[in-house]
Symmetry: C2
Subunit: 764 residues, 2 copies
């Protein structure tokens, strides 16, 4: 762990250029706007090590599966996040000498990610081999207000010479994916073209056939007056550029504005893409850089009013939590129900796919509280729309009867992952999908969602569990054999407590939901019965039988729920006994050794207790926490947040803070030495939870927000804004008190430390 970036409440700042750190910074300073994203690659030439990354939401390449030993049921392809054509590029020459940040000398290098208004700013003085010095400032943003538009202002000042400058903004389709199984090319460039004003490039992903059109236009100012020089077009295979050549005197400042529109066939007919992208870029240019930026900044201002968290007394924590919130909000805006949140968002391509159980378990709570309910609802509908494919997926594994198994990793509803112990066995993901429905309704109160979408999904999930369990004569109980729980440091185990719990809970919740819809929405109910061919009596009877007779492994003498059968046969070592040189164990131990060790990647019993906390006494929570936490190595980015929340819950404030530190600055301080590959976007939802649910102690109880805060010692003040049932509230917490201010919406009751408070909007 290292603190490389400057601590600042609203910005991430790098001072001085470190080429060995370039790929890390490219991740950290990434920008996105829900529709597309861009790693912080340089506009100008950079011949050093770099992971070029431009990503467009929902656009993927079906990369042929790479596997050592094929198993029946493996998918044919893995949907890879496709690195799209480079639209940011601006090459710069001074008297024909290329500005390459890898080969020139750099002075006063500084870059800043401004999170308040969502832009990237970069300044430096480059000393070329010839001795010529250029002072550069580059600023760019991907408009949140107009998500088809990216804009760049790139200014050059001649520090010490007079001469000719050539600036060539370009679009380049000659790109590769670093994450490619067989080094295949993912794109074909279909068309490039230009006129005096604009240049465009249209490309199509191979196999999946997504089409994207990029259109750019540029304007050049010298010392604030428009330079009318005709540009010279440069066309090469898969490349189009517009070259500006002009004379510059010492002290002159040239500013190039580059506007780019990025449109794709998810939203437009392929044959209209080019003309629509030309229209979009004309619209952008007309609005001007400053106009576009002010729309963009206004969006962020508004967004922070319902998503911000303020921490006083701990600037690193303040920066950390804002960085997490900022990244989540620029990754997913909830406008498009076909999209989801990939593990690296728009900051890298590793792992591929866009949807993991992370969304339901770690992100829905964030979007539920920080956005209008439509955003979380769209994430639910995403899965609803994949129900057919989940049913098909289950049938490949031998389940018919309308059972659904949602994929472990997916883009379009089809399974991508290809490790049997995960693809076929990490079935608890089905539970997370049921739980998200429950959680959504609990938070929003929108129980009609059940009738419209939720119940169909629940029925299919319950059918899966019914056929996935089997009766054990020996135990006289139902068992679930051969699973991998959220703790992926155990594979193919029997009776994982968390999975069994999720199965039983889903069956129960489905039965309750059926009753509810039957009574409240009888017409919808009849439609669902018909569509799902629900045999009420036999199916519910079978589910109830499983509910009553499920086996749960227990460590009776310690009052602990046992992670899985046989766990106590392991050598009982504690994490504190592990030599530092062997950690993280996943980088030092062979897989079998990890599997048979007692050590836990993330404690799934605790994950279950977190989900169903209201069913358990504090004593039970404490006993399980005390048992599992010392055995947990937290080698999943999703682990410390849950442990931190439970530690807060049982009053272990110091432990909670220690665990929180591991999650909040995971990427900024590069705890796992892997930020070069991209950010851990989905675990950022966990960080948010550990503040709001953990330290804030926020719960929803009987349709009401309830707070039982307990701040880390270091924090003098914590405040967060939340959406809740049409209101926006600000919650302010000190060591001694907690207050709620209603910023928007009708009066509402809130429970603070067990007391009911009536909240009204302040009169202005």
């Amino acid at each position: 762990m290292k603190t490389y970036y400057k601590i600042d409440e609203w910005s991430v700042i790098e001072e001085g250029f470190n080429p060995h750190h370039q790929e890390e910074s490219e991740s950290i300073f990434s920008l996105g706007n829900g529709h597309m994203g861009q790693r912080a690659n340089f506009e100008e030439t950079y011949s050093g090590k770099s992971l070029q990354g431009t990503y467009i939401a929902g656009i993927y390449y079906p990369d042929k599966t790479r596997v050592g030993w094929w198993k029946n049921g493996y998918p044919e392809y893995f949907a890879k996040v496709a690195n799209a054509p480079n639209w940011i590029g601006i090459s710069v020459k001074a008297d024909n000498e290329e500005l390459d940040l890898h080969t020139c000398k750099l002075k006063d290098f500084r870059r800043e990610l401004n999170m308040k208004h969502g832009y990237l700013d970069r300044t430096f003085v480059a000393v070329l081999k010839s001795g010529k010095q250029l002072k550069v400032n580059a600023r760019r943003f991907l408009s949140m207000a107009d998500d088809e538009i990216g804009a760049i202002r790139y200014t050059i000042e001649s520090v010490n010479f007079s001469g000719t400058i050539e600036m060539t903004p370009f679009l380049d389709g000659n790109i590769v994916n670093r994450d490619a199984n067989y080094d295949e090319k993912f794109w074909d460039v279909l068309d490039t073209g230009r006129n005096d004003e604009n240049a465009y490039l249209k490309a199509r992903t191979r196999k999946s056939g997504f089409e994207v059109s990029f259109c750019m236009t540029s304007e050049l100012y010298i010392n604030d007056s428009v330079k009318k020089d005709k540009t010279q077009s440069i066309m090469r295979t898969g490349f189009v550029g517009q070259s500006f050549k002009f004379d510059i005197a010492q002290g002159d400042v040239a500013a190039l504005y580059k506007y780019v529109s990025v449109l794709d066939s998810l939203n437009y007919k392929p044959e209209k893409l080019i003309s629509k992208s030309v229209q979009a870029v004309i619209r952008a240019k007309k609005r001007t850089f400053n106009g576009l930026f002010s729309d963009h900044a206004a969006y962020w201002d508004e967004n922070w009013t319902h998503s911000d968290i303020i921490i006083k007394g701990d600037p690193a924590a303040q920066q950390g939590i804002r960085f997490n919130i900022f990244q989540l909000n620029q990754t997913y805006t909830g406008r498009d129900e076909r999209l989801n949140i990939g593990p690296k968002g728009f900051t890298g391509e590793k792992y591929g796919g866009s949807t993991y159980w992370d969304t339901e378990a770690f992100l829905i709570p964030f979007y539920l509280s920080t956005e209008p309910s439509k955003v979380a609802r769209n994430l639910l509908i995403y899965r609803y729309k994949h129900l057919g494919k989940a049913i098909e997926n289950a049938s490949k594994l031998g389940y018919n009867q309308g059972a659904a198994l949602f994929p472990m990793v997916t883009m379009n509803g089809e399974e991508c992952h290809n490790e049997w112990e995960i693809t076929f066995e990490e079935i608890h993901r089905n539970g997370a999908i049921a739980y998200a429905i429950y959680n959504y309704i609990r938070y929003t109160g929108e129980s009609e969602y059940l009738a419209e979408y939720g119940l169909e999904v629940l029925i299919a999930l319950s059918r899966f569990w019914r056929h996935r369990v089997n009766w054990s004569d020996v135990k006289g109980k139902y068992v679930i054999l051969g699973v991998t729980g959220p703790n992926e440091y155990e594979n193919n185990v029997n009776n994982n407590w968390y999975t069994n719990k999720m199965a039983v809970w889903t069956l129960r919740y489905t039965i309750d939901s059926i009753e509810y819809v039957m009574n409240e929405f009888p017409l919808a109910y009849q439609k669902i019965v018909k569509k799902c061919r629900l045999h009420y009596e036999t199916e519910i009877a079978a589910w109830k039988d499983i509910i009553s007779h499920m086996y749960f492994p227990m460590l009776e003498e310690r009052g602990v729920f046992l992670q899985q059968e046989g766990y106590m046969d392991k050598e009982q070592r504690m994490v504190t006994e592990l030599p530092i040189a062997e950690r993280p164990i996943n980088q030092h131990w062979s897989w079998d050794r990890i599997l048979r060790s007692v050590f836990i990647k993330q404690a799934d019993v605790l994950q279950g207790l977190f989900s169903f906390e209201h069913d358990y006494t504090t004593d039970i929570l404490r006993r399980n926490f005390d048992f599992y936490e010392p055995r947990t190595v937290h080698e999943s980015s999703l682990s410390p947040c849950i442990h931190s929340i439970l530690a807060s819950r049982i009053g272990e404030a110091e432990k909670a803070y220690e665990l929180y530190l591991r999650t909040s600055r995971l990427d900024l301080d590069d705890y796992n030495n892997e930020v070069d590959e991209g950010l851990h976007i989905t675990s950022m939802g966990g960080t948010w939870m550990s503040v709001v649910i953990g330290f804030g102690g926020m719960r929803v109880k009987e349709g009401m927000i309830s707070l039982t805060p307990s701040l880390p010692k270091k924090w003098s003040f914590l405040s967060f804004n939340i959406h809740f049932r049409g209101r926006i509230m600000n919650i302010g917490i000190t060591a001694k008190s907690a207050e709620v201010e209603l910023l928007k919406g009708d009066p509402i009751q809130v429970e603070i430390n067990g007391k009911l408070i009536n909240c009204h909007q302040k009169k202005n």
Copy 2:
């Protein structure tokens, strides 16, 4: 299952050509001589589907590992059997029209694999598009007497025309491997050359750097007189040929003799390879085709005197068993301790590697009984020489202390396999290596082997088990967690009975062996103690503690040893309940479904009972057989033989015969529809065992051969020849009697059905 080939006691015969069956026949008619092997590809051009395969013992390519998800400890490469340059080719043109067996019409096609004398014979009449007819006979063999030599006699008779024939025997290095992870080229051709007499081609495997030199010389006879025509050389990249062009009249017969030497850098210095291969081919030509063949046939005559099995009353079984013995003997001759027996021998390239636990468990018994003890000893020494690498391999998995884990798949001692559940967990292979030492000494009586080689290996194996077990507080026993037994339809299970049994047995046998060597070979013992840094007191105490306190899962109420913990939690279905449409389950079920089902690929408890049969009563054997056999789908080629032997042992003769049928003609009748990929060489040892150990009831008891025969009803007579401690014996069995004839060696006692018989050689 289908009977495609003609049943014949000494031959496999195909009548009529079936292009859809070509790859299967290429496997079935394969030839080898221990040093090299050749699929039954055609000499002349064949543009149809074919798996070209020329393999040279010990020559491999380290093919970059292909894996979906990397795990620590995986090997960097998989040693692939490298398809070597084609040395059999002879292209034929009649008046410039190419003889291509895929495009011409074929009449009277017949091929025969003569197992008595080890040659492949092929005759046909080809009708070219022009209407010209050629009658062809091709015969080839790979000399067992001079294993660097292959020889071909290729005769053409003009049936209906006079004209010009061009025959071009060639060597061709432009070959590919079908089994290649990334379609890499495995070979570079280093040199080609020729003079009037000879042509050579030298090639080197990439990365591994093995060099092979092929040298050929040819002679042409027309109507039995030598044709002195100068040949014309043809050289292309990686190709060298010698073209014979001559006139032929209707009824003329042209015979081309092609002699090829194949030498490699395992046996010669690379720089000498070409000259040595030229010398070898001159030697071969001088000996003449008939002379070479008579040496080769004499080898086979001699070999069958100690390896043959005669079955009367069941010609298909007779052909089947001879096919198995023939293949084993042409795959491995035991001359070179650096070689081993790959799963496909020289008949295909799939699976790669040359050494699996199959060798110790299924092949050593065959070679022990059919060859002088040196052959089996060389297989043991092969592992001894890999001990250093096995210790290194174990250290990669976290074991120091001189513990050894032998690889699952290897060529040179390094692990090749890359599935964690096998590579890291199928550790019972270590047990098979210990057992082979025990079995070797039991059979041969050569207990000095322990002092020379065996004990070092045993100590390293025992050290592995010591550190692989752990103490379970819950059970108050030692347990072995996270293993895969021989039944690979269970992965990552706890306390696999077979593995635990093998571990404890190895520890016991090592202790006994230490005592033995200490007393009998005190000097050798001191050397071993020093070399292995054996701490007698502490190590033996630890081993004894494990022996006394190992946990074995049991199904007490049925008196059955339980395959692994938790097995009885599965839904208890029998194989007879499986729909035919779902079998084999490994082609129809997803992997998780197979894993959590009760169904067994090969019953490892029975494998253990087979190994330690003398420790158990017939009643125990029967109870376990009755429990496991109905749950076993026999989807491993190594499964039915062991079940058959146990069925014989407990007096279930019909069941034994039914199971025997599944193993003996597995390839000839292509039970599994995969013979095109090559033969199941290693399971052939199991077939032999099910006859000799199963029906013959042969055991070694207290240094003596003991027989308790029970023939299948259909068999009127069974006889087999065996080597035993310097003797060669013939055993003849009918339904009523069993007799032993000593063919060679000093008088010996044999036990038949409990009675001691004194055997002397008959006086001639």
